[in-house]
């Protein structure tokens, strides 16, 4: 059963040094506030998984907390590079970053296998691509029925998955809608699940296209309005595209980045804009 907790306490209890952590949300519902709490608590040596690392992982990587990244597309959507990610990969700053790199289809299926508690998933993918030469989590399998050779991707089972959702009820049942990405799979693949929500309600009225995660698959629910900013929560906030564009010059420069993190994340009581 999910406990309703403060973000500080939930992160401190559920996210451990050296963990494999998935903070999912495909452009929408990215759990920024929880990531910032990880930075404030300095929880380090993390292996981070996300289909699209996005600015949220650029921040964690630049803060020096990440040992390895499991991903499929590492850009600032519509803007350009993730400069902290590039600096870590190209120059080892602030520390070297090991990569396990996939296609989107492969990453999505790795979570599906993880949620299904299967050792791997099968897809028609990676054909003719050099990607498989750089990872040990892509292989091939022969279909026992047709003889077709198919790609096999290893299950991804995070120690902890963190997602943001629109709302929860007082029992800790969580509801999200709009673009729901791979959040259900990432949550069900994980050992521990932390959810931040925009608001707490008495009753979760059904939503078209909504996904409900029952309280008994969740460890902690934290009420964090605006906790997806500069990503968004449909029905509550809009994507702050101006922030994503403003991030580019901040992240290009190591000193500007450190200053931004110090002022907006690490400072006591700072509310990251």
């Amino acid at each position: 059963m999910a406990e309703i907790r403060s973000l500080h306490d939930a992160v401190a209890d559920l996210v451990h040094e050296g963990d494999t952590v998935a903070m999912e949300g495909f452009t929408h519902l990215i759990p920024y506030a929880a990531a910032h709490e990880v930075i404030r608590q300095g929880i380090t040596d993390l292996t981070l998984a996300r289909m699209t690392p996005d600015v949220v992982y650029d921040q964690l990587i630049g803060a020096g907390l990440v040992r390895k990244l499991i991903f499929s597309w590492g850009g600032n959507p519509g803007v350009g590079s993730l400069h902290r990610f590039r600096d870590a990969v190209e120059n080892g700053w602030p520390r070297p970053l090991e990569l396990d790199e996939h296609s989107h289809a492969g990453m999505a299926n790795r979570y599906v296998a993880g949620a299904s508690r299967l050792p791997f998933a099968v897809l028609r993918g990676y054909r003719g691509s050099d990607l498989a030469t750089r990872t040990d989590t892509v292989s091939s399998v022969v279909c026992p029925f047709t003889g077709e050779e198919l790609a096999a991707v290893a299950a991804l089972n995070p120690d902890v998955t963190v997602v943001h959702a629109q709302r929860a009820d007082r029992q800790g049942n969580v509801q999200m809608w709009g673009l729901t990405g791979v959040q259900k799979e990432a949550a069900l693949a994980a050992d521990r699940v932390l959810v931040t929500v925009e608001e707490m309600v008495d009753e979760l009225t059904p939503r078209p296209g909504g996904v409900v995660l029952p309280t008994w698959v969740i460890d902690a629910v934290c009420v964090v309005p605006g906790g997806a900013h500069p990503s968004y929560a449909a029905g509550y906030t809009v994507r702050d595209n101006a922030f994503y564009q403003a991030w580019d010059p901040i992240a290009r420069d190591r000193d500007a980045f450190i200053q931004w993190i110090d002022e907006n994340v690490r400072t006591e009581g700072a509310v990251a804009r």
Partner: protein, 256 residues
């Protein structure tokens, strides 16, 4: 460089949109492909079903989205599906006619690199964003269109890394690998249009934009670009096409 009336980029965008005439469904990459696909809906193909990898099917945005997950893409969609479903049921299931991709590097067989670039001896590899949806889009869509600006940095003799297979090393490679779709059929640039030679699968110059010469295109291509038997000239953008393109772009800037 430009006439009084339109820019090279506009020639590229308008011709990329025209390439979507007659298509029913398009899996849309962000950036130039998204511009082209949205312009196609405003001009040559109002019924085109736009599919974004964030899970939206039938998006009808009124402005160009910055990301593939902008709220308007979901709010205006016929359906929003989870990401594993998008890649497994809709893309791998063979439901999508056209995949529209951009690229950092392309070779003569329309293979794509979006992963790493070699920056010379003693220097670390330059890091690009990575694969995203492209390998399976290029494999599983009925056919693939590509759009990128023409330069020797982009059109290279040899890729530093094959992220996404186009035509491999020539005819028969896609069939041998069991790839369902036809692969890249057209590469639209700011100088003209390249198409694979049916006999060799090698990209050849098929059309020039108005005012561009064959030499200009060859100079901007990293391999010895051959020309098709007949090299056409693309129709200049119409006033309606330009108006629609500029309206989409200015609407996209309002909220940024």
């Amino acid at each position: 460089m430009t006439t009084e009336d339109f820019t090279r980029d506009e020639l590229m965008e308008v011709n990329a949109a025209r390439a979507l005439a007659g298509a029913r469904t398009c899996f849309v990459g962000i950036g130039l492909p998204s511009t082209a696909a949205n312009l196609a809906r405003a001009t040559v193909n109002p019924g085109l079903v736009l599919i974004y990898e964030s899970g939206t099917i039938g998006s009808k945005p009124t402005r160009l989205p910055l990301s593939i997950g902008d709220g308007e893409l979901a709010e205006t969609a016929d359906a929003v599906v989870p990401v594993p479903e998008m890649f497994n049921y809709w893309l791998q299931g063979g439901r999508i006619d056209v995949g529209f991709l951009g690229a950092a590097q392309v070779d003569r067989f329309a293979n794509i690199n979006t992963t790493v670039v070699d920056r010379g001896p003693g220097k670390p590899e330059g890091r690009l964003p990575g694969a995203g949806g492209a390998p399976e889009i290029a494999s599983n869509c009925g056919k693939v269109l590509m759009v990128l600006r023409h330069s020797t940095r982009g059109f290279v003799r040899k890729l530093d890394f094959v992220t996404t297979l186009g035509h491999g090393s020539g005819p028969g490679d896609r069939e041998r690998l069991g790839m369902p779709g036809a692969g890249p059929v057209e590469v639209i640039t700011d100088l003209g249009v390249l198409r694979p030679d049916p006999a060799t699968a090698e990209l050849v110059l098929s059309a020039l934009h108005p005012g561009v010469t064959v030499e200009q295109v060859r100079d901007a291509t990293g391999w010895d670009l051959r020309s098709a038997d007949t090299v056409g000239v693309t129709e200049p953008p119409t006033a309606a096409e330009l108006a629609a393109l500029r309206a989409l772009k200015s609407a996209g800037k309002e909220d940024r």
